[in-house]
């Protein structure tokens, strides 16, 4: 009986220690790959969280990422520009990124924010989308704040490297060896055109998300406190979708209007883009031609004022 108990304790300890050793080695290897990433999402994420010092940044979801051509903006505004838009993300990730930049003393002078209510205001997800992008820097200012609000257990879970780099380690390693994805200062062009007819899904009855609103407010305050010029934009849409009354009210209350304290530029009903299959890669995203045309029109609008 005694020997069985000793064997059991030894086996349990072996599993725990073995797992810890494996996890630590894995963490060291993946962190090395992240630091030495030559491109792709890994380099993009590492750059934003550790090195970014550009004066104009683009923030928002995949629509930000695929619609704002950084080299065009940089050439026109004569400054350095980086596109921090990330697929499937919105205000939570943007706040964490910005807070991180501010705490590093890398405060941008202007932010062009692609407003997309699904990720910025609506209650449509469980807030887990930013986790993958924030876990590698889970202790950093801003990052830990958002992680704790999404799931208080994140601080404990992230001590395991295998959890921190869960699923993304393949991309991390591949980006260190030979990155496949082309990015131009964060901007990811998409090529191709819409070939089929898409049905539009409209839901006007989505409530606003309290956590997203909380971070939206914090984002505005952070910009104000650091003298960051903030421009909200709704970029071109294939199917024009009107903002719901609750979003319109929210924007009005926060003075996010065409001539408000925070400028709002709306391209959603621009006839050059609506239903123009030549300029869209899919119903939600412009292709590279569309993005370049949109960026030009946006810059005209920004510089005209």
């Amino acid at each position: 009986m005694k020997s069985k108990a000793i064997k059991f304790v030894l086996a349990t300890l072996s599993v725990i220690i073995g797992l810890m050793v494996l996890d630590f080695s894995f963490g060291v290897a993946v962190e090395y790959a992240r630091k030495n990433a030559k491109g792709g999402d890994t380099h993009n994420n590492y750059y934003i969280l550790n090195e970014l010092r550009d004066s104009v940044i683009i923030m928002g979801s995949s629509r930000a990422n695929h619609h704002y051509v950084t080299d065009s903006i940089a050439a026109r505004l004569h400054t350095s520009v980086y596109n921090c838009g990330i697929d499937g993300n919105g205000i939570l990730l943007s706040y964490a990124f910005l807070k991180n930049m501010v705490s590093r003393g890398a405060c941008p002078s202007m932010i062009i924010y692609e407003l997309f209510p699904i990720f910025d205001l609506y209650e449509n997800d469980d807030h887990t989308n930013p986790l993958t992008h924030l876990r590698p820097a889970y202790n950093a200012p801003g990052v830990s704040e958002v992680l704790a609000d999404i799931d208080p257990d994140e601080a404990i879970k992230n001590r395991l490297a295998s959890y921190r780099y869960n699923s993304v380690f393949i991309q991390n390693i591949s980006d260190a060896i030979s990155p496949k994805q082309l990015t131009i200062r964060g901007y990811k062009p998409i090529y191709g055109k819409i070939t089929t007819d898409f049905q539009e899904k409209i839901n006007n009855n989505v409530p606003l998300d309290t956590l997203k609103i909380k971070y939206f407010d914090k984002f505005l305050r952070l910009c104000d406190a650091n003298d960051i010029r903030l421009i909200f934009v709704t970029s071109a849409q294939f199917h024009k979708t009107d903002l719901t009354p609750s979003v319109k009210r929210f924007l009005r209350e926060h003075d996010i209007t065409p001539y408000g304290r925070y400028r709002y530029i709306d391209f959603s009903d621009n006839p050059d883009f609506n239903c123009n299959k030549e300029l869209f890669a899919d119903p939600s995203h412009l292709n590279d031609d569309g993005a370049r045309l949109f960026t030009r029109l946006l810059l005209d609008s920004i510089t005209a004022r």
């Binding site: 069985k4 108990a5 064997k7 059991f8 086996a11 072996s14 599993v15 073995g18 797992l19 494996l22 996890d23 894995f26 469980d126 887990t128 257990d153 879970k157 395991l160 295998s162 959890y163 780099y165 869960n166 699923s167 993304v168 380690f169 393949i170 991309q171 591949s174 496949k180 089929t196 898409f198 049905q199 899904k201 899919d282 119903p283």
Partner: protein, 481 residues
């Protein structure tokens, strides 16, 4: 608190330790079983309250009712009085299930029928809704307790006189949310003669839990990243994309439910209890009839013993047998949910089994090529039926099927290379392990007698789950039923 949540995993070792200490402190005492059962009952009810506080009340209500009926039918075994009371008892026990799960459906069907008969002037546009929140696991614990009452009535099991033991039988926490549906003759003797916790049970329990996690996080939840966006917007996706999503859903559902079942069996084993294994590689079945001997085994057994056989089984001629099969699977469909899609799903399974019976396709083909073809055909039939199971309405299910069979043009989902790699890893690892277990059962590297090998295998399994599993503690699909 669900079995795959961080919260549960954090609390489980503490609960287990407390249980082991209490059992050890009272070892040899005549009160050992009752104290252990009381402690596990408290743990089980705490677990249920963490899900839905009100749910504990319903479980207690069902427990009290079926406990009373059990004593009654035990005392009046084989009498006219018992025969008079059994339908009444069944209705009473099923009433909460009917009210909470089917009230909206019944009211809606009634209104639609009234409209069809011209009894209402206006068309019924909005489905009826009482707004009830369905108590978690209601279908499972109701069926388990009604099975007990039926077994007592038929004299197959003795009534349980100790209320604590019976409370634990109904509410045993690993199986409360999604089964397996245990029989009284399996679980009650274990509760009454508290099984001694041995180290091998704890080791086996951890193994089963890790395997369950693998199926849930690495296989099911990874495939869900493809299935969910396609089914949510199927009208914009091509027929081939919808077909691929339907295949992935079949595998996702298996990973999800078999994963839960393994975790439930594993947690039970940690506490020394042996629960029924719910799955036996169902997608290697060579007929739909055999599929049901391998899929959700505890429900199939329940339906056979409590619906099919009481209806007459296969003892009353061919036509009646076919009718009984159809009726049993219609009940199975309704049990899964209050929706026409589930009824159609059940009827498809029943009808195919009738056809198999008619053509005598029950036996395993000897020719390997024919066997492979039959396995493929069975998978495709089951896959087809799962479309009804997955979609919210009959119209949606038919639309998805239309897109598949007409090779409808549309977009294709293009997951990232990492996602493709992880889906590929999930599918290949599942197929290889299932294939080996099906055709080379003697090959058991993970059950090696070498302790070091077992430790290394467990470390690797846990590491795989941590690195490539989807670790968002998502809910299990069958918890909805």
């Amino acid at each position: 608190m669900i079995l795959n949540s961080f919260e549960f995993l954090r609390i489980l070792p503490i609960v287990l330790l407390v249980y082991v200490i209490v059992a050890w402190a009272w070892r040899g005492s005549r009160y050992c079983s009752i104290i252990s059962a009381s402690l596990l009952t408290v743990i089980s009810y705490t677990f249920i309250i963490s899900f839905q506080p009100a749910c504990a009340l319903f479980i207690f209500l069902i427990t009290a009712l079926t406990y009373g009926f059990g004593l009654f039918f035990g005392r009046h075994k084989g009498t006219h009085r018992a025969r008079m009371w059994i339908p009444f008892g069944a209705i009473i026990i099923l009433l909460p299930l009917i009210i909470f799960k089917y009230a909206d459906f019944i009211a809606d069907a009634f209104l639609q029928a009234c409209h069809a008969l011209g009894l209402t002037e206006t068309a019924v546009r909005e489905p009826a809704s009482f707004g009830f929140i369905i108590p978690i696991g209601i279908s499972f614990f109701t069926f388990q307790s009604i099975g007990y009452v039926w077994d007592v009535y038929r004299g197959k099991t003795d009534p349980e006189h100790n209320f604590i033991y019976y409370m634990l039988f109904v509410a045993f926490f690993p199986q409360i949310a999604s089964g397996p549906i245990s029989k009284a003759s399996e679980l009650l003797p274990q509760i009454k003669n508290r099984p001694a916790i041995v180290y091998s049970d704890i080791a086996e329990g951890v193994w089963l839990m890790a395997l369950g996690f693998f199926l849930k996080a690495v296989v099911a939840d990874r495939l869900a990243t493809y299935v969910n966006p396609v089914y949510a917007d199927y009208a914009n996706f091509s027929g081939s994309t919808c077909f691929l999503a339907s295949i992935f859903y079949s595998i996702q559902l298996y990973g999800d439910f078999a994963g839960y079942s393994l975790m439930a069996v594993g947690v039970g084993r940690l506490f020394g209890y042996r629960l029924i294994n719910n799955f036996q590689r169902p997608y290697f079945a060579h007929s739909v009839t055999e599929f049901w001997r391998r899929w959700h085994i505890s429900l199939t057994r329940w339906l056979k013993e409590n619906v099919y056989i009481p209806l007459g089984g296969n003892r009353r001629g061919k036509a009646r047998t076919y009718g009984n099969i159809i009726a049993t699977f219609a009940v199975s469909g309704i049990w899964h949910g209050a929706n026409y899609t589930f009824i159609i799903w059940g009827l498809i399974h029943g009808a195919v089994q009738c056809v198999e019976r008619w053509f005598g396709l029950g036996d395993k083909p000897k020719n390997r090529f024919v066997l492979a073809l039959r396995i493929l055909l069975t998978f495709l039939i089951v896959n087809f039926a799962w479309i009804f199971f997955r979609m919210p309405t009959l119209k949606d299910a038919v639309s998805v099927i239309k897109r598949i069979v007409t090779f409808a043009p549309g977009a294709s989902l293009n997951p990232s290379k990492t996602t493709i790699l992880l889906i590929g890893f999930a599918l290949i690892s599942l197929f290889v392990t299932e294939f080996i277990r099906e055709y080379f059962p003697q090959f058991k590297p993970l059950k090696s007698t070498n302790a070091a090998m077992r430790v290394i295998a467990l470390i690797l399994l846990l590491f795989i789950v941590l690195t490539v599993g989807v670790l968002d503690s998502s809910q299990f699909i069958y918890v909805n039923f």
